[in-house]
């Protein structure tokens, strides 16, 4: 077991290195210029060159990469060009905000999605199944940023119940919770749809297997059968939950932008438009590391739940 985890952790290093090279290359090859973003556009050519030099952007790309990597290895992600804060602080603050939303929206989506999926499977073909499938289709089809805008229009602008934007970093717990509601709902939509569908089909697969028939023949009640089905479907569901949670962390750029929620997605969006390269690289690297760790965690959980996997 530990050997397996250790091997996977070692494998994470080349993965992250590869991710960092791709990130670095893409950020630098994209049109636009970090200095153009922070300097007035009509600054003189000489001033622009001087500033580039001061920030090290005049060096060849491979040199810049090695310098950057050398610092990253020591835990220094550099400083934001726009705010001059240490990137690690920016990323930390944003990550906390995103984690909060990822957890709240995952709890909502997983809870409702698993319940709907199982109900739909056990009532296959009935009205409840159709309703659940309908909700699932809407969840995966409606763009979540659009849903976010609609939520704002209804609950903030028209009804004036909930705030439209921001994270109320100063207003206490109640304020923070109030600010969380709408982005949480908007973010939960897609995973809700995906999970409902996956759970439904996983449960249906298992229900169709002979052992279920055998259980029923043995005279087990529905509730006991249900537990067996859930246990057997769990590994597959875990994989999806893990991935969805990962997406919740990194995939909220649009929702966070719509709600001005100061998480990693919002930070990423800002950094892209400001060409704040150190921030961009830092955020993506940290998110990539998160994905790698999350996948590892899911795999470990899977082996714990289903010992057959460990034997392979």
């Amino acid at each position: 077991m530990w050997q397996y985890v250790g091997r996977r952790l070692l494998l994470a290093i080349p993965t992250l290195l590869g991710a960092s090279i791709i990130v670095f290359a893409m950020v630098h090859l994209a049109p636009g210029d970090p200095i153009a973003a922070v300097m007035p556009a009509d600054a003189s050519g000489a001033d622009i060159e001087a500033t580039k030099k001061a920030y090290g952007f005049d060096k060849p790309l491979p040199v810049q990469y090695v310098v950057w990597l050398g610092k990253v290895v020591q835990g220094d992600l550099g400083r934001s060009i726009a705010t001059r804060r240490a990137v690690i602080l920016d990323v930390r603050d944003a990550l906390i905000n995103s984690l909060v939303l990822a957890v709240s929206s995952s709890v909502l989506a997983f809870g409702v999605g698993i319940a709907l999926g199982l109900l739909a499977a056990f009532r296959q073909g009935k009205a409840l199944d159709k309703l659940a499938s309908g909700i699932a289709v809407i969840g995966v089809s409606v763009p979540h940023y659009w849903a976010g805008i609609i939520l704002i229009i209804v609950f903030s602008v028209q009804l004036n119940w909930l705030p439209a934007m921001g994270a109320a970093s100063d207003g206490g717990v109640i304020e923070y919770l109030r600010h969380m509601v709408l982005p949480t709902v908007a973010l939960a939509l897609i995973p809700l749809g995906v999970i409902t569908r996956v759970v439904r089909s996983a449960a249906l697969d298992i229900l169709a297997q002979e052992f279920v028939l055998a259980l029923r023949a043995k005279g087990l009640f529905d509730r006991r059968v249900f537990l067996h089905v859930v246990k057997n479907a769990a590994p597959q569901i875990f994989t999806v939950l893990g991935l969805q949670f990962g997406f919740q962390l990194g995939g909220s750029v649009l929702v966070e932008a719509v709600f001005s929620w100061p998480g990693t997605g919002y930070l990423l969006n800002l950094a892209i438009f400001q060409r704040d390269i150190p921030v961009l690289q830092g955020v993506i690297l940290v998110l990539a590391a998160f994905f790698v760790l999350l996948n590892l965690l899911v795999d470990v959980l899977q082996t714990l739940v289903d010992p057959r996997i460990a034997r392979h």
Partner: protein
């Protein structure tokens, strides 16, 4: 199950009812900037940075009078009480500084503070040189070459040549507190706890989220002590988010409401304030290549644009037609021969005269435009209308939309790069706040890329002469006359397609009282109050 439903419902209701009560006299502003402008003195984020951060925390020696809306905002004494050019040496400017002014940290404002600030921008080897801040402003102080403290309340600036533009440069130099800097010896830390002499002082900075300021109760100009207790600035770059924040009562003031939201906002009781100010939205043409190398074609394009239609139908009257760099009524407007009223027939005739004949030989051009951007208004919709207007008279324009930062980077490099070789124009909006921004950087032959941003390039000895003459003319009224003459020539040469002047729309809650929208890029926030 029922219990769960009940508790969820009661939680939602509790959250909904727990509305926050804003502190009395708090003005909350949703900016278009994507970030809190730099608070360490020489601010960033262009003029929006000066508007909300620079000029609220800090002050220049020479300031803009933003208290009135019925005239172009003039320059007035700021931290300097008076100034004059030495009669015997016209490259030396003596400034008498205001006495009794204190920085937010309590230290006195004096000649040392001015010297310190100047060195933080210009003296690269000084311990207190601010690399980032300097990059923001040093090019605006291009003529200044040195500073000398004469006594506690007098300084002398030296310039590289006799130039009357010095006040137009020093209005951008924001004086910082040397005592506060000494506490940290680090500009980043200074920016977290900044200290200036302005009407507002920073109380809290949450990077990328909010900047909180409080009224400077001991501000030296008693007439301009803020009416509000607190000022909160929020960067809200998404127009829909900004609008929702205003409509849901999370902010009291937003910059640039989307034009199509204006009727709704008015209907819902919000105030919409607008005023003309030195902004122009144009296509800067490439003058060394067909078709825009031909003055007749350029004039034809200017006659082909339905500016009134753009402002009325597309922008809900948040702009006025532009028929030059400046607008009618501006001291630099003069009396141009060409009026560029919408006249497609005249445009076609001019094109024919230039040898382009509609369908048989259309004039073709590729224009680089942005998808959004500061001051760009509604670039896609506006450009599609312009494209149609030009097509109607026989000019085929291919629009190439790129992201704002990309446009700026490519524009700054000029037309003669591999990327830009195929282009004939770019669509960027400008300010013409002072003679350099309005004319010098674009139309002087010495400003050709990469020195500055004459990208076209516009090369006209007559224009050079007039720009130089304006710079040598120390009497402002006389200087304005020279610039008006230059403006007449430029309107006739039409190196740009003049389109519109923005009116700087902002939407305010009905609770905001007393704000005057000046004819400027900047605002005086001290007169505004917020009622409960």
């Amino acid at each position: 199950m029922t219990r769960i439903v009940v508790s969820i419902v009661s939680l939602v209701v509790a959250l909904a009812l727990a509305s926050p009560a804003a502190a009395q006299g708090t003005l909350r502003i949703g900016m278009t900037a994507s970030d809190i402008p730099y608070t360490g003195g020489q601010t960033d984020n262009g003029f929006e940075g000066f508007r909300f951060v620079g000029y609220q925390i800090y002050e220049p020696l020479i300031a803009w009078d933003l208290t009135r809306g019925d005239r172009l905002a003039p320059l007035v004494p700021g931290l300097a009480e008076s100034w004059e050019v030495r009669k015997d040496q016209p490259t030396k400017w003596v400034f008498k500084l205001r006495k009794g002014v204190k920085f937010h940290d309590g230290s006195p404002f004096n000649a040392d503070a001015v010297v310190f600030t100047y060195e933080s921008i210009k003296k690269k080897d000084a311990a207190h040189f601010d690399t980032y801040g300097s990059a923001q402003v040093t090019f605006r102080l291009a003529s200044l070459t040195g500073i000398k403290k004469i006594d506690e309340h007098t300084v002398e600036f030296e310039t590289n040549k006799p130039t009357s533009f010095v006040p137009y440069q020093l209005c951008y130099m924001l004086v910082v507190s040397p005592a506060q800097w000494q506490k940290f010896k680090d500009w980043r830390k200074f920016a977290e706890q900044p200290s200036g002499t302005g009407p507002f002082k920073v109380t809290r900075l949450v990077p990328r989220e909010r900047l909180e300021l409080e009224a400077n109760k001991t501000y030296w100009d008693a007439k301009r002590r803020p009416k509000v207790d607190k000022l909160v600035l929020l960067p809200l770059p998404e127009p829909t988010t900004r609008l929702a924040a205003l409509r849901s009562g999370q902010v009291d003031w937003i910059e640039v409401p989307p034009p199509d939201s204006i009727p709704q906002l008015k209907g819902a009781g919000f105030q919409l304030v607008m005023n003309s100010y030195p902004h122009n939205w144009t296509h800067t043409l490439r003058l060394d290549k067909e078709p825009w190398n031909n003055k007749l074609v350029r004039k034809a394009a200017n006659y082909a644009i339905d500016r009134v239609g753009i402002c009325k139908n597309l922008l809900n009257d948040t702009c006025i037609p532009a028929t030059g760099i400046a607008y009618k009524g501006h001291p630099w407007f003069g009396k141009p021969k060409e009026t560029y009223a919408y006249n497609p027939a005249k445009a076609k005739a001019l094109l024919k005269q230039a040898g382009f004949d509609g369908t048989k030989r259309p004039a073709k051009a590729v224009h680089l435009i942005s998808t959004s951007g500061s001051g760009q208004m509604l670039p896609l919709a506006m450009n599609e209308l312009i494209q149609k207007n030009l097509k109607d008279v026989g000019i085929d324009v291919d629009l190439q939309p790129v992201e704002w930062n990309t446009l700026l980077t490519r524009w700054r490099a000029g037309f003669k790069t591999a990327d830009n070789e195929g282009l004939n124009a770019w669509n960027i909006s400008w300010n013409f706040l002072e003679p350099w921004s309005g004319f010098g950087r674009f139309f002087h032959s010495k400003s050709v890329v990469p020195v500055s941003v004459n990208t076209m390039p516009y090369l006209n000895p007559e224009a050079d002469k007039l720009i130089d003459e304006a710079e040598r003319t120390f009497d402002i009224a006389r200087q304005n006359e020279v610039l008006a003459k230059l403006h007449e020539i430029l309107v006739d040469d039409a190196p740009w397609i003049f389109v519109v002047h923005d009116l700087n729309p902002r939407a305010l809650s009905a609770k905001v009282k007393g704000f005057v929208q000046p004819q400027s890029w900047f605002v005086d926030l001290t007169s505004a109050s917020v009622t409960r």
